[in-house]
Amino acid sequence: MRFHKAGVAAAVALSLAACSPGSGSTDKTDAPSTVSTDVAKAGNVTLKLTDFWGAAEGEWIKSVITGFQTKYPNVKIARTTEDWGQLNSTLNLQLQDDSGPDIATANNGWQSLGTLAKGNLVLNLDAYAKAYGWDKKVPTTITRQNTFTTDFKTMGSGSWFSTPMARTSLIGLYYNADKLKKLGINPPTSLDELEADAAKAKAAGEVPFEYGSLDGSTTVLLGLQALLADKKKLNDYIYGDSTVKATDVAMTDAITLTKKWADEGFFPPKFNGIDYQTAVANFVGGKGVFRWEYTGSLGLNAQQQGHFGYIQLPQKSSSGTVGVGAAPGAMVISAKSKHPDVAAAFLDYLMSPEAGQMAADKGLVPAMSPDVKVPASSLSLTGESAGAATLDKNDGYVPYFDWSSPTMLDTLGQNLQLVYAGKMTPDKFTAAVDKDRDTFLAGQG
């Protein structure tokens, strides 16, 4: 018994001796004031890049590096790649290390980029944005995804802390081209047409939308919300403007319409027992006519890309096209980098039409590259690329809704299942969304 007491006493002493968790501090760094865009003058420079890209994305970044090194023979870029989860959980440590990467891929939002910026681990890029004219080059709705105010209370305005790239990841509508042809339906160009087509497909004995809600998939809801909501308000809501409420960003309309589709049998029978992976496999395997999905998530091979199309539908109110989308990563420059000027030039190159063309060549969705050439044999990439171009032109991006709070994705998924089961009304759903975000905002202080 005495040993137990000693152990407890030691444990208590230890916990008292330790200071409160997370109280370590970092030095304050300011935005570089004098910057140079002349890379050739920098002499021989080796930059370290750490990213989370594999497969086609890995091939893409390799060709971008080659392109940059050809352009500036005095620069060498040493690339390391890490698994997405691995890099996310260790990036803050890597950036504190003197021999850490100069450039890295972070994640947008409070979780990753916000924490790194707040901890002064990544450079404020305002001076480079000015020097390279990023404000003119990048659509405002994408720029906002990379900015924080310097008091780190607000996301979506203030200084640049990361840059996007000439690529994007969107939520949009995929369709099975063979099925549409068989049903005698042209790809829909509006939400009303889509609903009419879905009804037609249903009448012909097809499943209009391949979908499963077992693990709380939210793509239908968020895809619809972008067609119904006011673009600016939706952006403001997600960036934490507490004067905008979920009802102002068409959340109730979107959930009501989603529920209506479920009740009308637009989803597969017993879709509440189908998980995400199964639904994807079903759609690619030929079940269902349409599917709301993130670009790049269907894993279509070259042959399949000719049989699936992609549409970025315009808003219901016909006020342009608005879609959920963001760059597949946020490029940051380490505050410890000795060659920030050269690193910034590489970031600028990542946003260039050359990098966009390289993306299209690898089958990835290009952005900010209006003259990009896409292989005509790939129906899906043609559609995706056209969607991104339209969003660029309309400046119509909205970020992923779950950037609004860390618990948002869970809240959406769980309550969506309750709505499908008739255990929650659309109004209550919207109230739950507000409650989740406002609780988070209150905690941010």
Binding site: A11, T115, T278
Partner: protein
């Protein structure tokens, strides 16, 4: 605790102390010397993280930036947060499926299997014990298939004309939790059975003979001889299965993620979400501490009860 019939006089006690103390002290220090290294390792990998968890549980912390002391707020959410509170109810249901049902079934099958020696007994034991050695992830994936809308279970129900009973087991608010529970029953049942069979074979045959001579039937024999003889095994089975139910994570994570809604959310899943998905490290620590305390209390209660004569 030594109980003496007659209180010792002060003189006697002092005598005894003087004689015994040097020896007792020396053995204690030697023992401690031997135990020092294991104790240090134990302290480093168990006690220190435990103390840290307890410390974190009093803070609101996102895991990176500065934390704020919030006292018992994290523990209070077990009362104030209806979702977190409901996880305790879900665990009670799971205990029924993970502990009580397998033990009842295990006792029954042990009694049946040990009554008469049948050929191929070992095969039965092997088959029923199999789930225990399988990786839980594999089991969860297999049952996800079985419970799927077009999975074997629904197909079988439809084949025998019970179409009305076919449902999306894991997507149904009423059935998801029992469906998960039955997976647990399947896993722990074989373990309980094997434990009880070995326990029964250790009971002296004379007891059964005596019971039979006294005119006891199979049922009476079971309650008068087998059940009391298995007290130790019952304690082990209860402790292991109840703590397994309390810690249920992989099964839920792979099949339902806690859904539909939050109808299959367990404390362990809530802990994982709080610690690794949502930056609420303090809350996660509090859930962990509560789970550890519950496991400890249950283990102590079961040991005390089973060892009482």
């Amino acid at each position: 605790m030594v109980v003496t019939a007659r209180p010792a006089t002060p003189a006697e006690t002092r005598d005894a102390d003087v004689r015994r103390r040097p020896l007792r002290r020396r053995t204690r220090w030697i023992g401690l010397g031997f135990a020092a290294l294991p104790l240090a390792v134990y302290g480093l990998v168990v006690l220190v993280p435990l103390a840290q968890s307890v410390q974190y549980s009093f803070y609101k912390w996102d895991g990176v930036s500065a934390s704020t002391f919030v006292g018992l707020d994290n523990y209070r959410s077990f009362v104030t947060d209806p979702v977190l509170r409901s996880t305790l109810g879900h665990v009670l249901v799971l205990i029924g499926f993970f502990a009580l049902l397998p033990i009842v079934l295990g006792l029954l099958s042990a009694a049946l299997l040990t009554r008469a020696k049948q050929p191929g007994m070992a095969v039965y034991r092997w088959i029923f014990f199999l789930p225990q050695v399988m990786t839980s992830v594999v089991i969860a994936l297999v049952f996800k298939r079985i419970y799927a809308p077009d999975g074997p279970l629904n197909t079988a129900l439809r084949a025998v004309g019970l179409d009305s009973l076919a449902k999306t087991w894991l997507g149904d608010f009423t059935w998801a939790l029992p469906a998960l529970g039955l997976i647990g029953t399947w896993v722990t049942f074989g373990f309980c059975m094997v434990l009880f069979i070995s326990g029964t074979s250790a009971i002296a045959p004379e007891l059964y003979e005596a019971a039979r001579i006294d005119g006891a039937g199979p049922v009476r024999e079971f309650f008068a001889v087998t059940l009391p003889g298995l007290r130790g095994q019952l304690a082990v089975a209860l402790t292991l299965t109840i703590t397994a139910a309390l810690r249920t994570f992989d099964l839920v994570w792979i099949t339902t993620h806690g859904g539909p809604g939050t109808s299959t959310l367990t404390p362990a899943v809530a802990l994982y979400k709080a610690a690794f998905q949502n930056p609420q490290v303090g809350l996660a620590a509090a859930i962990g501490v509560v789970m550890a305390a519950l496991c400890l209390v249950i283990a102590v209660v079961i040991t005390r009860v089973s060892e009482r004569d």
